[in-house]
Amino acid sequence: MKTNVGQFRFWAIGLASVWLTLFVFFPNLLVIFTSFLTRDPQATVSLPINADSYIRTLDFLYLKVLWDSLRMSLLAMIVCLFIGYPFAMAIVSLPKRWQPVILFLVILPFWTNSLVRTYAIQFILGNQGIINKSLIGLGLIDKPLQLLYTQFAVILGLCYILLPFMVLPLYSALEKLDVRLHHAARDLGAGPLSRFWHITVPLTSPGIVAGCLMVLLPAMGMFYISDLLGGAKNLLLGNVIKTQFLHTRDWPFGSAFSVILIVLLGFMLWLYFRASRFVSKQGGLNGSDF
């Protein structure tokens, strides 16, 4: 029987460990390694090891793409935060039985095909789309507005696809917030704005960082959104990586761009853990402590 215990345990632990090591941990190391290799027309990549790919990312052309991508993704993140925060606050203020319903309605689209929903946005924003048709119909404009193939369209698409990722962590942070802190602050004379700024925001900072991380990083990679809504001019980092890997076949260069994303992920995770530590120190007033 002893061996039986060991066997089940062995497979339960072993399968996932081997899988994740082989297809998550090891591949990520390989990306970093590849970024230091040299491009080779025959074997895709070869030695010697060097930092040429990183030096090339400093080229003006690529710096500009990098900056444009980062700016569009950051703007999408900020818009999501400014919509998602009041939205999450509104959900938390609902009666308990309504909260999961509204939350579910926000999360539901996440599980559907985001390419298809991006295509729907393209359909709506186009020159012959609903917005332009109705504005012309109402006599507000004479010729269609150029909505599609602009940075605006890309940012709108990113927000549309990624909003659930902002709402979810914000909701769970706000839900944990202890209302007694607000009551205490009000009794001591703090106004609503001051309470929001000095209690709600700091204590939900892990949720804010988590939401920003879950919007910003995918936003930089979603090549089909910029492809369908931004045209050839408004590129995201994902488009650059895709071109390097699938068309130009310069893997070290493409990997170098991905390493930039991995570093950004690491930085935001560090920020998240700092924020969580801060909250568990400062906000440890809820639940069992009383």
Binding site: M1, L15, A16, P27, F123, M220, M222
Partner: protein
């Protein structure tokens, strides 16, 4: 916030979220080719899709990949959730942090890292590489779904079973699995949807000989208007919506 303002705001955002989906679904039944005006109700775009051999092959390929990937991810993920919940072992922290990191890794990074590892291991791009890739991004979702269900368990029952001499695999089959079944099924359904809808990882790890539906749709919408896309999109949306609603009902049942 005043209640009216609050409901108004939520209503507005939810409407904006669902309008594009609705427009697409309605247009898939629109007889007018460019979808500018309502040209009457029709099923012809669905028929065109049905009669298009290339698209049907891609759809079947997608179904195959999704079923295989969801099933394997559910088996490995369920076992991993049990391991993380029940056992203390060396590398447990490493395993859970790998789950955490693989959930947060941007898809594009996962896509190229898989492409590189397939090249390094000499795995041919096509069905096998697609399935491996899809299992990899589904796995953390299954683990999290099953793990959170296991956390709500009364552990005393398992202790009692062990004291009475039940083996670990017997405990798993007779107690843990039946109790966790709603979460396991939900994990499968969610994995299936994620796999069926994936574009980013698939774009990198598929081979020239193996076409799947989302990538077909992608190349079609890039080229220009083709109304069959509306029909395919509607089917994909409806399948995902139905499966996710079922999975959420399964996950809710016990609460």
């Amino acid at each position: 916030m005043a209640p009216i303002f609050r409901w108004g705001f939520m209503g507005l955002i939810l409407t904006l979220i669902y309008i594009p989906i609705l427009v697409l679904v309605v247009n898939s039944f629109n007889a007018s080719k460019y979808g500018i005006k309502w040209g009457g109700f029709t099923f012809k775009w669905y028929e065109k899709f049905w009669n298009n051999d290339g698209l049907m092959t891609a759809a079947l390929n997608s179904l195959t990949v999704s079923i295989v990937a969801a099933s394997v991810a559910t088996i490995i993920g369920t076992l991993a959730a049990v391991a993380l919940h029940r056992y203390q072992f060396k590398g447990k922290a490493l395993l859970s942090s790998m789950v955490f990191v693989s959930m947060l890794t941007p898809e594009i990074v996962m896509a190229i890292s898989l492409l590189i590892v397939f090249m390094a291991l000499g795995i041919k791009l096509g069905f096998v590489s697609l399935v491996i890739g899809h299992i990899t991004f589904c796995l953390p979702f299954v683990i999290v779904a099953v793990y959170s269900r296991l956390k709500g368990f009364d552990m005393k029952m398992l202790e009692a079973a062990r004291d009475l001499g039940a083996s670990e695999s017997r405990i798993f089959w007779k107690i843990i699995l039946p109790l966790a079944l709603p979460a396991v099924s939900a994990g499968w359904l969610l994995s299936f949807t994620l796999s069926l809808d994936d574009v980013i990882v698939s774009a990198f790890v598929t081979g020239p000989g193996y076409e799947i539906l989302p990538l077909k749709v992608y190349s079609m919408v890039r080229v220009g208007v083709s109304p069959e896309v509306n029909a395919i999109s509607t089917i994909l949306l409806v399948v995902s919506l139905v499966l996710v609603v079922i999975s959420q009902l399964l996950l809710r049942e016990d609460k």
